[in-house]
């Protein structure tokens, strides 16, 4: 089926989002000249295939369920924020908070991602081909982050049940995050995610696993008691 074409030069973001929502399930759409506009393709709850020909602004694909989005360019803050299910692929670099609070689906960044990637992740997978910045996966509760490159400061601070895989170096771990032994099940999960993402530069057997030490799960009233 030929994709429906929208042009941000002639339609507003709201007009395009309303028209996208009206398309039948399984439809494809191409969006021209996004030029960094915010809130593109937010709140789509069907299986649409949407391609952005250019860079987008904040919150692309936020609150979606079942969507398949490709951004041919850079994306602003919080791509795929609160994604429920579906796939978002960014071919350039991503700004802050990619995949923040996502519950499911897969978010793939072919370049680097900035600070706070996967903050408060609640499920699903995030795969970053390159490097990521500081504070990634802060308070992430469930799901996976895979990083092909290097990671900044305070990775996985106050982590819950989410798991982080890093192929490169880690500047520092956050409070309660720790390195753990990699299992066969991890290796197969990484291999599957690499295959989905199309990443060939990561050796699934040669990746660091970071999980929660679970020392912050309960308040320890007796810790460092002086009396």
């Amino acid at each position: 089926m030929t994709p429906t074409v929208f042009d941000c030069e002639t339609s507003t973001v709201r007009e395009i989002n309303v028209a996208l929502r009206a398309l039948p399930s399984g439809s494809s759409a191409t969006i021209l000249n996004p030029k960094g506009r915010h809130n593109m393709a937010v709140g789509m709850i069907k299986d649409l295939n949407i391609t952005f020909e250019g860079s987008v602004g904040h919150y692309v694909g936020g609150l979606c369920d079942g969507i398949n989005i490709k951004v041919n360019g850079f994306c602003g803050w919080a791509a795929g924020e609160n994604l429920m299910n579906g796939t978002i692929r960014v071919t350039g670099n991503a700004s802050e908070r990619v995949g923040a609070t996502a519950h499911g689906g897969t978010i793939i960044v072919e370049g680097d991602a900035s600070t706070r990637a996967g903050i408060s992740l609640k499920g699903g997978s995030i795969a970053i081909a390159g490097d990521i910045g500081d504070f990634a996966m802060f308070m992430a509760q469930a799901g996976i982050l895979l990083v092909g490159g290097n990671v900044g400061e305070a990775l996985g601070d106050s982590l819950y049940e989410a798991v982080i895989y890093v192929a490169g170096t880690v500047k520092s771990l956050g409070a309660d995050a720790r390195y753990e032994d990699i299992t066969e099940s991890d290796v197969s999960k990484i291999a599957l995610l690499c295959e989905t993402a199309g990443f060939t530069h990561i050796d699934p057997n040669n990746v660091k696993r970071i999980g929660s030490a679970k020392q912050l799960y309960n308040f320890n009233a007796l810790k460092e008691q002086k009396y």
Binding site: G36, R37, G54, D112, S114, T115, G133, D134
Partner: protein, 287 residues
């Protein structure tokens, strides 16, 4: 909020279009800062022994021609903007006529005012400006009143200009320290403190990058800062980086803004490396 933009041209063929690009970029940032706006244009470097003074008066019918004659300066108008060119040391003579000097330098000219950014751009005819470097700001005031003097860019020392998105928390104590060192403040604004701190450090031998390192140690708060001198173009972020910043590096230019949409119309932007700088990072380009 506040919006910031900057363009540092590497290819001189783009210089005739500097004003056009700066206008398009700042217009995109209008809704981040609807209170007031300001622009610094670097170009048209004056001969040795001369200095450009960007001036303004609250009196719309001010007689600039006779002021220029009295001070022995050349007068150039850019819309409502006024640039006097003359020998160094004319500040007090110019200010004696109830005129504010917004910037001095061999390359920089600063234009700023309250009002919608689009109208400020028009008032100073920025679209037609030629130059090698431009810096712009749209302001949503937080730390001081909405006045022309409180608008950005702050150009406190020769050829320096600073625009800021964020706010500093300890700026009163830093201001006191700088006052003790001889800096004289013109506003209650926090960004003026940052500009004077950078200017003070640079007048004591540091380059812009090192002066920004001192700023990161001295000033507490949240900020994305874009600073420029005659030859330098620099971006600095605080350690938490909750204020946005996007950088585009292309063979023909380096551009920076609060949001990507301000960069979208730059030539060949799809071929530029576009990224968000990391917390605490300082990026400096020197021509």
């Amino acid at each position: 909020m506040c919006g910031i933009i900057g363009l540092h041209l590497l290819d001189s063929e783009l210089e005739p279009q500097l004003g056009h690009f700066v206008t398009a970029m700042l217009t995109q940032m209008s809704d981040r800062g609807p209170d007031s706006a300001g622009i610094a244009i670097y170009g048209d470097v004056v001969d040795q022994g001369l200095l450009k003074y960007s001036c303004r008066s609250d009196d719309r019918n001010f007689d600039w021609i006779s002021l220029a004659a009295k001070c022995g300066t050349r007068l150039v108008r850019h819309g409502e903007g006024v640039v006097l060119t003359g020998v160094p040391g004319l500040q007090s003579q110019i200010e004696a006529h109830d005129v504010s000097i917004i910037s001095t330098g061999v390359a920089v000219e600063v234009f700023k005012d309250v009002g919608a950014p689009i109208s400020v751009l028009e008032r100073f005819d920025i679209e037609s400006r030629v130059g090698y470097q431009g810096v712009g700001h749209t302001r949503l005031a937080t730390e001081s009143a909405i006045t022309t003097d409180g608008s950005h860019p702050f150009s406190t020392h020769a050829d320096l200009c600073v625009v800021h998105n964020g706010s500093f928390s300890n700026y009163f104590s830093v201001k006191r320290d700088l006052e003790a060192l001889g800096e004289k403040f013109l506003t209650e604004n926090d960004t003026e403190v940052a500009a004077r701190l950078l200017g003070y450090e640079m007048s004591h031998g540091r380059d812009l990058g090192d002066a920004l390192k001192v700023l990161q140690k001295t000033l507490d708060g949240f900020y994305t800062l874009l600073c420029a001198t005659q030859n330098e173009f620099a971006i600095a972020r605080d350690s938490v980086s909750c204020k946005p910043a996007v950088i585009a590096v292309h063979d023909r230019y380096v551009a920076m803004s609060s949001e990507y949409r301000a960069l979208a119309e730059l030539p060949d932007i799809d071929k530029a490396k576009v990224f968000e700088p990391a917390p605490n990072e300082i990026h400096v380009w020197t021509r």
